[in-house]
């Protein structure tokens, strides 16, 4: 996994609550057996005027001028600012893949759906939780300031606005370390192989029907 330490970039505001993973990457793109190539279809139904299908030449498709990520002032955004319960619905990891391959490195919202939140950390995409009030502030600042860039520092757990305003966010230490170091989690778990095996032995005594 790619590590995440610090990042400074343009912010795009997505003014919606309960954005679901079907909206982030519609199901027709889940037929791919690869891990890449999802970025062009991130938010496909909102972003384009026509109906997207796998294998289309996306550069030829008509863009929806009203969709925020198509507006010139947000082109090249790497931080997504949005509302509560972001990433709800389907467990598809294609959602963080699509966001990341679109160019996002971090997301800021008051809350996320659990599975999506988890999936982000597995892919070096940082989901930051700020309070509703702080998110409101950020929405105001972003709409008032064209080209606003934010600086995220995972180690210090801060989001900094150029005017020197600093927001502090919480992150579980184990997730933080994993992201800072870009750990291979499977490899780390396999270091406990002996423990897993002795757990299995004990369990087979307690619930033998599971190990027949």
């Amino acid at each position: 996994m790619d590590p995440f330490r610090q990042h400074t970039g343009l912010v795009a505001p997505l003014e919606r609550a309960n954005v679901d993973t079907d909206a982030i990457i519609p199901k027709q793109f889940l037929k791919s057996i690869k891990r890449t190539g999802f970025g062009e279809n991130a938010f496909d139904e909102w972003r384009y005027m026509d109906l997207g299908e796998p294998g289309m030449n996306n550069s030829k498709r008509p863009l929806n001028p009203n969709f925020v990520l198509n507006q010139s002032r947000y082109l090249g955004a790497t931080i997504l600012l949005t509302r509560k319960n972001f990433g709800c619905g389907s467990s598809r990891e294609h959602a963080p893949w699509a966001l990341q391959q679109f160019g996002f490195r971090a997301i800021i919202a008051p809350s996320y759906a659990d599975i999506f939140f988890n999936n982000c950390f597995k892919n070096g995409l940082l989901p930051i939780v700020l309070t509703e009030l702080e998110v409101d502030h950020l929405f105001n600042i972003v709409s008032a300031t064209a080209g606003l860039q934010l600086s995220v520092d995972l180690d210090r757990q801060t989001v900094r606005v150029p005017s020197a305003q600093v927001y502090i966010f919480d992150v579980e230490d184990s997730r933080k370390q994993s992201l800072l170091n870009g750990w291979d989690e499977i490899g780390r778990t396999l270091r406990h192989s002996d423990k897993i095996k002795s757990y299995e032995t004990a369990r087979a005594t307690r619930e033998p029907w599971l190990f027949n």
Binding site: D22, K31, R35, R83, C88, I115, D173, K195
Partner: protein, 471 residues
């Protein structure tokens, strides 16, 4: 303290702890891993790249469900991209030596969350995971069951464990007797209407109370299935006689003396008297009516006797905007009576409501009647090959066909329309599935979530109708 009262969730969590760090991050052991074609290819590929094997072959039960066609299955899958995904699973099963695979042509094939319990592959006291959010379904068996992403699928394949932190506990008690025509689906929609789609975020929900105990195993699965729609990763119900009775004789369940031994343990899988929860929500079953969603999120739900709400009366601006957007997408005017909304299509199926009991209930409404003229398509998609066969033995297929329904092969079908079964833009559907998100059943399609009985009643009436007046 050995005799501290524990919740069901505590018991399941503790029994699966392999290791725990000081900050609460734990390694938990996974007993059952359900695999399907959409979220597994990249995981198998990851194993291959790193030269890793499956830790425990027998924990895996795999099937192809999301992409499979529901008609003319012997002709194979027409869409080459869908076909490649199913073939990739076929190949990975062989390559990695998985034993239990119900491929597209297996008589036991079906939706992953239907076949697990049907086979007895989901047992009380297990941890069950799948790269699919509706894995919460299996919690109906007093199992700790939750959906995971593809990286975690790979992690479980390679290590039989997951890195996780304990969630908060939420007890939802539904007491009293649900009225005639009020089903498990209505109960869970009412719960989501009450606590909201983020109401269970960060929590494991235990559903309890006399109205939950009164439900069949099928009904309990419907309720746990939609725990994810309330934002919770897991939903569960304590084990009781019904749980044990349901599992007797199932293919993967223990047999004979071993079953008796298992059943003795299973009866301990309930929350102890005095166990404490982080939060408790109470509902009165008698007050629940047949539910219909009006918007683009499962929390946007009301009674069949109600009407489309008026955004102008909402004081929270973010909520008001979401309501306005939803009504625009759904093509509905505020104040319209739910019973005046005409529909184009009807879908009875999905891991929420495609079990034999669901089909029986819908057939009971349909029997001797015919779908309305304005219905372009009404389809019944059984959850598995075995459900379909059982329904045919009971003659339910004949009832549906005579009424003008189509009788399809099992799979996810129009729940998400990854195969050919989709809504066209603007089409309105009464659906027994679990998500009414924009575009979920086809781009521009409009989904209203209902119970199988309500879907059947809507098919007959051509618009939403109060099933209690038909019963």
């Amino acid at each position: 303290m050995a005799d501290m009262p524990k919740t069901l969730y505590d018991k399941l969590w503790d029994a699966h702890l392999v290791q725990e760090e000081a900050d609460g991050t734990a390694l938990i052991y996974i007993d059952r891993h359900l695999v399907h074609e959409v979220t597994s290819p990249q995981a198998f590929e990851g194993l291959e790249i790193h030269g890793r094997k499956l830790w425990r072959l027998k924990s895996i039960l795999a099937t192809a469900d999301h992409n499979v066609p529901t008609t003319a299955r012997n002709e194979g899958i027409a869409d080459p991209v869908s076909r490649l995904q199913v073939e990739t699973l076929d190949n990975n099963i062989v390559k990695f030596g998985v034993k239990d695979y119900f491929g597209m042509h297996d008589s036991r094939q079906g939706i992953v969350h239907v076949i697990g319990p049907e086979q007895g592959a989901t047992l009380p006291g297990m941890t069950v995971v799948c790269g699919d959010s509706h894995t919460s379904t299996h919690g109906a068996f007093a199992a700790l069951a939750f959906g995971i992403g593809t990286s975690e699928v790979e992690h479980v394949m390679a290590t039989q464990c997951l890195v996780a932190k304990k969630s908060k506990s939420l007890l939802i008690r539904v007491e009293g007797k649900a009225g005639r025509g009020v089903t498990a689906k209505d109960i869970v929609l009412a719960i989501i209407g009450k606590i909201g789609t983020a109401g269970g975020t960060g929590s494991a929900i235990e559903f309890a109370g006399s109205a939950i105990r009164a439900l069949s195993m099928e009904g309990r699965m419907t309720v746990c299935n939609m725990a994810i729609e309330a934002g919770a990763r897991a939903g569960m119900v304590a084990a009781d006689e019904k749980t044990i009775e349901y599992l007797k004789g199932r293919a993967f369940a223990p047999k004979g003396a071993m079953f008796e031994q298992a059943a003795r343990y299973w009866t301990t899988l309930h929350s102890d008297v005095g166990a404490t929860f982080d939060r408790i929500v109470d509902l009165d079953a008698a007050a629940i009516t047949p539910q219909v969603t009006w918007g683009t999120s499962p929390e946007m739900v009301t009674s069949i006797t109600g009407s489309v709400p008026e955004p102008a009366k909402e004081t929270d601006p973010v909520k008001r905007e979401a309501m306005e957007r939803a009504l625009q997408y759904m093509g509905l005017d505020p104040g319209t009576l739910m019973a005046d909304i005409r529909i184009d299509k009807v879908f009875i199926g999905s891991c929420t409501n495609s079990r034999i009991e669901d089909l029986r209930a819908a057939a009971g409404i349909v029997r001797g009647r015919h779908i309305a003229d304005n219905i372009k398509l009404a389809m019944v998609v059984a959850g598995s090959g075995l459900v379909k066969r059982q329904a045919e033995v009971e003659g339910l297929d004949k009832i549906f066909l005579a009424a003008g329904f189509e009788w399809r092969e099992p799979g996810c079908s129009m729940c998400l329309g990854m195969n050919e079964d989709r809504l066209s833009p603007g089409e309105r559907c009464a659906s027994t599935s679990n998500r009414n998100f924009e575009g979920r059943q086809g781009a521009g399609g409009r989904t209203h979530l209902v119970s199988p009985e309500m879907a059947a009643a809507a098919a007959i009436a051509g618009r939403f109708a109060d099933v209690r007046q038909i019963l």
